[in-house]
Symmetry: C2
Subunit: 489 residues, 2 copies
């Protein structure tokens, strides 16, 4: 029997850890800060990869693979970049039994090593745009780690592109931000706000960083993905040039963008409850668990037969239902465990739909279906069950997104006044305020409230939304923008 999960109301952070460990999504490893992703968690990553990889490829990007190791000197070629990443690096100093002439950094991100190759591959404007992505592991030495959310090693995809003009690079940066937003909402059922990072929060080496920000159930923000316009910063450092159609040598304009296994943590903190994991159907590897009630010997065979038939009928219906995944159904024939135990277990594991097939219900020609997120039992005629399951899966996916959106909207507040903000931030949530972007002011807010500017939300023209009112913090007027302040993961 599973251990008890700490309720969210009691200790959100402990609740999160309980879910991750008890649903066997991940485990602590003997290597400080590194996690082990267990099969139940890795299958979620596989579903993320499958869907996102398709979306990325549909934009014309191709996958490749670059070395894990980066010569230390490469990292130093871009001044802001090394300043940002050097403190987090793991360094290989010895290999093959000898001290290396030059130490190798385990990639914390790959702009530098990739530019060393791009500089060789890009010769002419005909080679552009160059659109590359890689799925890889990377290492950032973190002091305080948390399963999925912040680990020393994590898995991600990192896109890296080269373009002939600044406009194309900006367009690509925004395109991938949109891909991430659509993916988060359609697949993870996690609503996000797309925005621009302030200078103090942007990627080390970028001209500008766009991001998507989600609100967790504890009303804290989670950065769920970033897309960077790198301008020619790395191209300058690595001399990544092309011969343009006008006969001139020019630096390429670049982008990079990534999401990571952190998404799994965000998805858990968006949907799960005190009973365990709640998984959007698009991420589930088993969608339906059928539990045959086998207590009575005389009806057992009949119940098992009905369960198997139902499973087949659901699979068949699923294949023509238009759902964007193969509906996977399991029939739990384990007789060493009681149905009640199984129900708890499936709730813990986040199986979207549970169906009980018992002798009494069968007599009435019905089964009992339970949707994991809402938990209400529904008696469904056997013949209607396959169609009902598909409809349930479809509405569950939509409802999870809407519920999360409603939660976020209900906890997003407009503030104009710093004193009011300081008081309200204690209750959590997103705070929209006029702001004059300034590093020192941001630092002051962070120190006094532990909140940061999560992003400057984008308007329809993809620019931060302007605000005419005085800056919430400084009272300055003019050139203010709308900012979202929140405490974050």
């Amino acid at each position: 029997m599973a251990e008890k999960i700490t309720p969210r109301s009691q200790d959100f952070s402990q609740w999160y850890q309980d879910i991750v460990l008890q649903a066997k999504l991940a485990d602590y490893s003997p290597v400080k800060g590194c996690m082990v992703i267990r099969p139940n968690g890795y299958s979620i990553w596989e579903a993320i990869q499958r869907d996102l990889d398709r979306r990325i490829k549909e934009t014309g990007v191709r996958n490749a693979y670059f070395p894990l190791f980066i010569p230390e000197s490469f990292l130093k070629k871009e001044a802001e970049h090394v300043e940002g990443f050097a403190p987090e690096c793991a360094v290989v100093t010895h290999a093959g039994g000898k001290k290396l002439e030059e130490a190798l950094v385990v990639r914390p991100t790959s702009e530098t090593i990739i530019n060393s190759m791009f500089a060789k591959w890009v010769q002419s404007y005909r080679d552009l745009p160059l659109l590359i992505n890689q799925w890889a592991n990377l290492v950032r030495w973190e002091m305080r780690t948390r399963l999925f959310l912040r680990t020393t090693e994590f898995l991600w995809q990192e896109g890296h592109t080269c373009h002939a003009t600044p406009e194309e690079a900006e367009q690509e940066t925004r395109l991938m931000l949109q891909v991430y937003k659509d993916f988060s909402e359609e697949v993870l059922a996690m609503p996000v706000i797309a925005g621009l990072k302030t200078d103090s929060e942007k990627f080390a080496g970028a001209l500008r960083t766009y991001c998507i920000e989600a609100m967790m159930q504890d009303k804290k923000a989670l950065q769920a993905g970033t897309s960077h316009n790198l301008a020619s910063n790395f191209a300058k450092a690595f001399d990544t040039k092309f011969l343009d159609s006008d006969g001139k040598q020019k630096l390429v304009h670049q982008t990079s963008w990534g999401v990571s296994t952190r998404l799994i943590g965000g998805m858990i903190m968006t949907h799960s409850d005190d009973k365990g994991l709640v998984l959007p159907p698009r991420l589930a590897s088993t969608h339906v668990a059928i539990v045959p009630i086998m207590a009575k010997a005389e009806t057992k065979a009949q119940v098992l037969e009905a369960a198997d038939k139902l499973a087949a009928a659901i699979r068949e219906k699923g294949a023509v239902s238009g759902l964007p995944y193969t509906v996977s159904v399991s029939v739990d024939k384990d007789e060493t465990k009681q149905p009640g135990w199984k129900f708890f277990e499936y709730e813990m594991l986040g199986i979207p739909v549970r169906i009980e097939v018992g002798p009494r219900d069968l007599e009435k020609g019905q089964v009992v279906m339970t949707r994991r997120d809402i938990g209400t039992k529904e008696f469904v005629p056997l013949a209607d069950a396959p169609a009902r399951v598909c409809a349930m899966l479809s509405s569950m996916q939509k409802d999870l997104l809407e519920k999360a959106r409603a939660h976020r909207n209900a906890n997003t507040f407009r503030v104009e006044n710093y004193e009011e903000f300081k008081e309200k931030i204690e209750g959590g949530g997103f705070f929209i305020a006029p702001f004059c972007p300034d590093k020192e002011v941001e630092a002051k807010v962070k120190e006094e409230t532990k909140a940061t500017v999560r992003c400057l939300p984008l308007g329809d023209d993809f620019l931060p939304i302007p605000e005419s009112g005085p800056c919430m913090v400084t009272g300055r007027k003019g050139n203010n923008v709308r900012a979202i302040f929140a405490r974050s993961y």
Copy 2:
């Protein structure tokens, strides 16, 4: 225009490198011994992953992910293991700006770190068998590297399983060997001999190692995959025990098995020719390239329309052809390049089928089709072209395997006499001989001939085939087995 490829007859090793670089499959990186896998090469790896991952999962194995870093002390827990791997390790000594208390090894293989987790997860016989696989990068510091075949960092999958009995572990080891053999032959079209490694060639820490061995076009052997029965060697070192149904604590019995990006190198050296890459259709990301002949302005529109229609018809036919992949068709509308240039390019890239659509052929209601491996032109009525393409792809896959098998069989020789062997080995090939497995004898053969025992081929009962004749090298009689000697990669 591509550079010239060195002919195989002139310099096989240079030919191989030319193919890899010119077909843009991989490139040298600035990090010693590490390669960059370019999109053309990575798409082959994706095809390998897709197919093999399905086969592995069909046996009940689930994917997971374990840390990149292994504490140095873990590696030392299994004596043979550390002896085998320590000289090849890359070591992280500093991280987060500080010297680490214990150095971390970048995984050269994951038996140790995985056992540290298995020891925690496995409690009861009910937890067995535990069947886990991971797709990952790993690092072995190699002195002499070659793109795909031997690189400091490479990509692979490594399966790790725990069982209650020695019999089950042995069964799993052989099952995965069979999965690899089927995969190599059905997908890579690369025939392999399954066999047992001698003690001097087995995995450091294994009870026994099975392998699959392929013959390259230069008649050298390539080890294409290994499956190890680890017995309880790592279980002892990590105390990986379970409570059996008889109430006793017992050590688990384990296996591990892996194939890597090396398979891509083996596939290239099996099928490719002096014109470039030859790719089995099951590994191709583009199966058919249609080249419209657009030289004449008055027929251009008509030719392009016919090409597009043909592409659509092939895709449609492909979907119902029973081929185990989606037939991907491209129409090359680039007017800056001549058809002749395109033909050379597609030959270099290994596109399985090329179709020319020209105005004169269209008048006759036909197109010209060329299968990459055999290169003969075939005039096909337009209406028959979709079905013909599918048939061509299907027979190309089969023919590549048969051709490679015929090459291997023609270059596999029976020898009984060491003097004869020493003479014939200079011409390359596999040599089957009676042998008394003995480390010192193997070392002598290697020193005198540069050949090694590739494997002891398995009989129907999965045991090495016995030989009654005297050992080829020592003349010893009794307890001899059949061995395959060859020079290898």
